[in-house]
Structure formats: structure tokens, C-alpha cells
Amino acid sequence: MSIQLIFCVETNKKTNSDWYYLSSVIHQFYRIDSSVKLSVVYMDGKNKYKQKSVINGIKEFRNMFTGDNTYVIYCFDTDDIVNSPKALSFMKEVEEYCLRNVFDLVWFNRDIENVLLGKGVSNSEKATYAIDYVRKKSYVHLNVKMVEKENRYIEGSNLFKVLDKYLTRKDVQ
């Protein structure tokens, strides 16, 4: 059986930083053989998650895929979900949206850089840090426990919890 996973990421196509991180981590820790197609839809800002361009992007990938099943995975930074009612309310909104559309939701508390690099990065430096992450193969040193979390209020991500539903992990020491 062949599947397609569509990742909807916050970044835009030009910066592409989220996909640099996600793609390299997925390839490092999961078996990606010819039965798995990874596709990416760029939201170009988290608030655009249900805009026509995003919905059409998902629809296009779904229609094009000639394999068996397509699954959609939305990826969001939680931002300061503990202290910011606005961030919390946004997360609840996207959670509900994903539930309604049978999409998966991957969250990064507080953001993808905090989880994978261990520190926050300014917007202007996001692309540079993402390129370095791939170039230096920093994904090799990823603390897997950080991306197997279930509680979105603490630092970390549920990335592997979601990926485990569809993909098989490699034996990476």
C-alpha cells in the first residue's frame, strides 16, 4: 500500500525553514521507501491555515496522487500557549479545525526551533539556522524524547506520536 503525507507548514516556500527541519528529521528517523510520498503545502503564516490557497493546495495533492491513501498533517508552533490566551485560543481553533476535517495536528512548544535547536531564533535568521541544521546534520543528535510528547503545554512536540501512525521508525541509535 502506498500513502501520501501532506505537511502543511507555517513558513513560506522561499524561506522553507520548517520543511528543512521536518524533512531531514523524518528521513533520519523513519523508513521512507517508495511506498511513501511526502508533500508540503506552505501556509505563509499560521493564520492562513484555512485560506483557499492552502485548501486548494491540499486538494491538488490529493487529486494528483495515484497511490492509495492521503493523510494531511498540519504543523503549528504553539507560541506562548501557557501565558498567552490568544495563543491558546488559536491552538484550540486549529485543533477543532483539524478534528473536523480528519487532519492530524503536530505542535511544537514553543516553536520548531526551540524544540529542535534548543533555542529561539529571530525571523531574519530562520533560514540560515535551518540550512545549517541540514548541512551540519544536526538532526542526528535530536533528543527523540523531545518529539514524543503528549502534553502540548510543556516544551517539546508530538511530531513522532503523529508520524508513528503512518511510518515505521528506523533503528537509529
Binding site: 531531514s24 517508495s34 511506498s35 508533500s39 495515484t66 492509495d68 540550512i131 548541512r135
Partner: protein
């Protein structure tokens, strides 16, 4: 109307292909009344580097050798090569093909053969079988079969049965039944009173015709032509004589070092004259192609010289593309003549526009079948209008045939990795850090 058409090809155990794959060239339901292969003449096989596209063409090459060369499994050079080609895991190579042969009668034939590696220096035919049916809904009837050297055949004439048993005695492990029967069967057909076994006779003749109609053309690196040439030349120098049929049967034309027996030189000249017209399509300023020949005892050693307005160029110094076209020319002649031709990397060194026109020609006017491997996505647009015309070979040795998907072009889907089992999960940033020198 006489017609031969390959319906399907199955193979397993060649190079990296360790599970059975099947190429289908026609729809599943075949019968005399509905058989029309007009839109099924060309097929392209796409796949990433190293997935086994060349292995498919190589398997066809093994098949044609087996069916035509009596010494194939006793010749030490071909054994060395076969030993490398047979998959190390499976230790056997199985090839099976179904084809239609239509004269005044219509028959579907299935030929299958299994080559087994016994040791590094010994490869045997462990199974060989020919079956036939009148339509795809009928049952297969066994015509002739050998298993581990034991023959079984379904003929009513004792004379014929004795004749076949005698002519194949002790040879079935190292020679194909078809090779063994070919000469003696044709020359003894009348004497053997074969009308009594018309289906049997019909099937054997169909298989013999099939063996003469299938050709494979590997790219230069995989064809071992240079090796064959050197062996022949060495032999020629030692013996001052060589069987002319061995020489002229070399299927590739080359720009240099073609050994042409004297009695076939006129046909060679004709071929070169036609070749000139073909090359002129690609290079309009070409005026002529001369043959520069050196006399050997019974043959000529020939090089081609390309003549332009004010200069001449030895073939070796022609462009890579022109040399490729010279090599391809005879293969394309076979397609034109109604044969079943497999070509590896048809696109290599040929301009996309010319390649597409060439394919269009064979789709519209070719009498034979053309199956080729390629990396070039350009021909996809031409092939989309034909049926069973595009197969994708995946890294896990699965053939995914192209099936129309909405309004999307096959080219768009394939390049975006949307064809099942060809996902191309590759990003430009996948190469980051790969080319930096160590400081």
C-alpha cells in the same frame, strides 16, 4: 495477414530484480476477433537510476541468445557474464513471455524458461515450457516441456515424438529446446508427417518465428560489443577465416571496426546508404557517408567517414549523438520491419524534439513493437495517446503502469512524484553538506 505481437513479458532474477515483474503490452482479453494491436506498439519504461531498467533489456538479451545461440550455455565467456547477471539471491533467472502469432490461424503462445546457477561455471536450463491457447479465455495446452533435462511433449505421431526425443537427448540442460529443434525441425517438417499434429507443429513454428523476431539493444557500456569484436578479430587473425553469419549478425552498426564478410558487403553498402538519409535528418549539412575498408582474408574491416561540404570526418570523431544514432539505426530498422525490439536508454544523446518525432513516427507508421528505457520526460506527451505505453519501475521492483488520472499529464504527475511508488522524496537541500571539502 502474418503478425507476431508480444503480449506480456515476465521476469525475475536478473541483476537487482529479485521478485517477478510483468510488462503488459496489450489488454488482458485477447481473441482472434478482437485482436487489434494498432495503439499498443510503443512502450517506455521509466525509473530512477539503478532500479533495474537495463536489467529488463538484459533479460531480453539473455532470452534471444538462449533461443538463437546453441553454444550460449557452454561458451565460457557468456557463462562468466551470465554468472554476474543472475541475481545472487534467487540464483535463478526466469523469463516468460506470451505472444500472438497470427497467420491463417490465430494462436496465443506462452514460452517460459528458468536458468539455474549450479556453480560459478555451470548454469543450466532447469525448466523450459511452451504452451498455447486459442483465446485468452481458453485453457493453456502444453506443447513441449523439459524439467531438469526430462522431456515431455504432447504429440500423437510416434515418428515425430521419437525424432524430437532423439534430437534433444542429453542436451536439454545446456541448450534451449527451440535452438535444438530449429534447423532439424524446419528441414524435416514434411518428412515428419506433421499435419497429424497441427497444433504442435504450429506452436513450434510460431516459437521459432518469435525467436527470430525479438531483438535487444543495450547501451554501449552494457552491450559488450567491443569485447565480442575483439574476440572475433583475434580469431580472424589466428585462423584467417571466420563464419560470415557470426559477423554480420552483430546488430549494432558502428562507426568503426565493423568486420563485414565480402559476400555481404553489398548489403552493408545499402545499409550505409540508407543510414546517410537517416543521419541527414539530424545533420542536414551531411553530404555522404563513405566506407573506408581494409581487406582481410574473407572480410573487410570497415570504418565510416562522414563527408561535409569542405571536410571529412572519421566516424570516431563525430559527435556522441551521431555515433549513438548510427548504433541505433539497425534497431529502428527492425521496428520498421515488424520485429519486437527492446532498446536500453533510447534517449541518451538524442535531442528531445527529434526523439519525440521519431517516436511519433513509430507510433503512426511502425509495423513492429518498440519497448525502450529512458530518463527523458519529453516522450511522455507523445506516448500518452497510445495504450499500455508507459510503465514505471520502482525501487522495490514493482511495475506501475500509467493510468490516466483526470486532466493531469503524466509528465506533471511523474515529475512531482505523484505516480505510485515513484515518490521522488528529494529536495534541493538534500544535497546540503555533500560537496564541501574537508578542512
Amino acid at each position: 495477414m502474418k503478425q507476431i505481437f508480444l503480449l506480456s513479458l515476465r521476469l525475475c532474477g536478473i541483476k537487482n530484480i529479485d521478485k517477478e515483474i510483468e510488462l503488459e503490452f496489450y489488454k488482458k482479453v485477447v481473441s482472434k476477433n478482437n485482436f487489434d494491436p494498432t495503439n499498443y506498439k510503443v512502450k517506455a519504461i521509466y525509473g530512477e537510476n539503478g532500479v533495474g531498467k537495463t536489467a529488463i533489456i538484459t533479460a531480453v538479451s539473455v532470452l534471444t541468445n538462449l533461443l538463437n545461440n546453441p553454444n550460449y550455455l557452454s561458451n565460457s565467456e557468456s557463462l562468466v557474464l551470465l554468472n554476474e547477471l543472475i541475481n545472487k539471491k534467487t540464483n535463478e533467472l526466469s523469463i516468460s513471455c506470451e505472444f500472438v502469432y497470427q497467420t491463417n490461424v490465430f494462436g496465443i503462445y506462452k514460452y517460459s524458461v528458468v536458468l539455474k546457477r549450479v556453480s560459478d561455471r555451470k548454469i543450466i536450463i532447469s525448466e523450459e515450457k511452451l504452451e498455447m491457447q486459442r483465446s485468452s479465455s481458453a485453457k493453456w495446452s502444453n506443447i513441449i516441456c523439459s524439467q531438469n533435462g526430462v522431456l515431455s511433449l504432447s504429440v500423437s505421431s510416434k515418428k515425430l515424438s521419437d525424432f524430437i526425443t532423439e534430437s534433444t537427448k542429453n542436451l536439454l540442460l545446456t541448450q534451449s529446446l527451440i535452438v535444438l529443434l530449429k534447423d532439424s525441425f524446419i528441414s524435416n517438417a514434411v518428412m515428419m508427417d506433421m499435419n497429424k499434429d497441427s497444433s504442435f507443429t504450429e506452436a513450434i513454428f510460431a516459437m521459432i518465428i518469435f525467436s527470430l523476431k525479438v531483438y535487444s539493444f543495450l547501451d554501449k557500456e552494457d552491450s559488450h560489443d567491443d569485447y565480442v569484436f575483439n574476440v572475433l578479430l583475434e580469431y580472424l587473425e589466428e585462423n584467417q577465416r571466420i563464419d560470415s553469419s557470426d559477423l554480420f549478425s552483430v546488430n549494432h552498426l558502428r562507426v568503426s571496426n565493423m568486420i563485414i564478410p565480402k559476400q555481404t558487403f553489398i548489403s552493408y553498402e545499402n545499409i550505409v546508404s540508407n543510414l546517410k538519409d537517416f543521419i541527414k535528418v539530424f545533420k542536414p549539412d551531411l553530404k555522404d557517408i563513405y566506407i573506408d575498408r581494409k581487406e582481410l582474408k574473407d572480410s573487410y574491416l570497415c570504418d565510416l567517414v562522414f563527408a561535409y561540404d569542405d571536410y571529412q570526418l572519421h566516424g570516431e570523431f563525430e559527435s556522441t549523438g551521431i555515433k549513438k544514432l548510427v548504433r541505433l539505426y539497425k534497431a529502428l530498422c527492425h521496428v520498421e520491419n515488424g520485429d519486437i525490439v527492446f532498446i536500453d536508454e533510447l534517449d541518451a544523446n538524442i535531442h528531445d524534439v527529434y526523439l519525440c518525432k521519431l517516436l511519433e513516427y513509430f507510433i503512426k507508421f511502425g509495423k513492429g513493437q518498440l519497448c525502450f528505457t529512458t530518463h527523458n520526460l519529453g516522450p511522455m506527451e507523445v506516448l500518452e495517446s497510445s495504450k499500455k505505453s508507459i510503465d514505471f519501475l520502482s525501487r522495490d521492483c514493482t511495475i506501475v503502469p500509467w493510468i490516466k488520472n483526470g486532466n493531469y499529464s503524466v509528465k506533471a504527475l511523474y515529475s512531482k512524484g505523484m505516480i505510485e511508488k515513484s515518490p521522488f522524496n528529494l529536495e534541493s537541500f538534500s544535497f546540503l553538506g555533500m560537496f564541501q571539502g574537508k578542512e
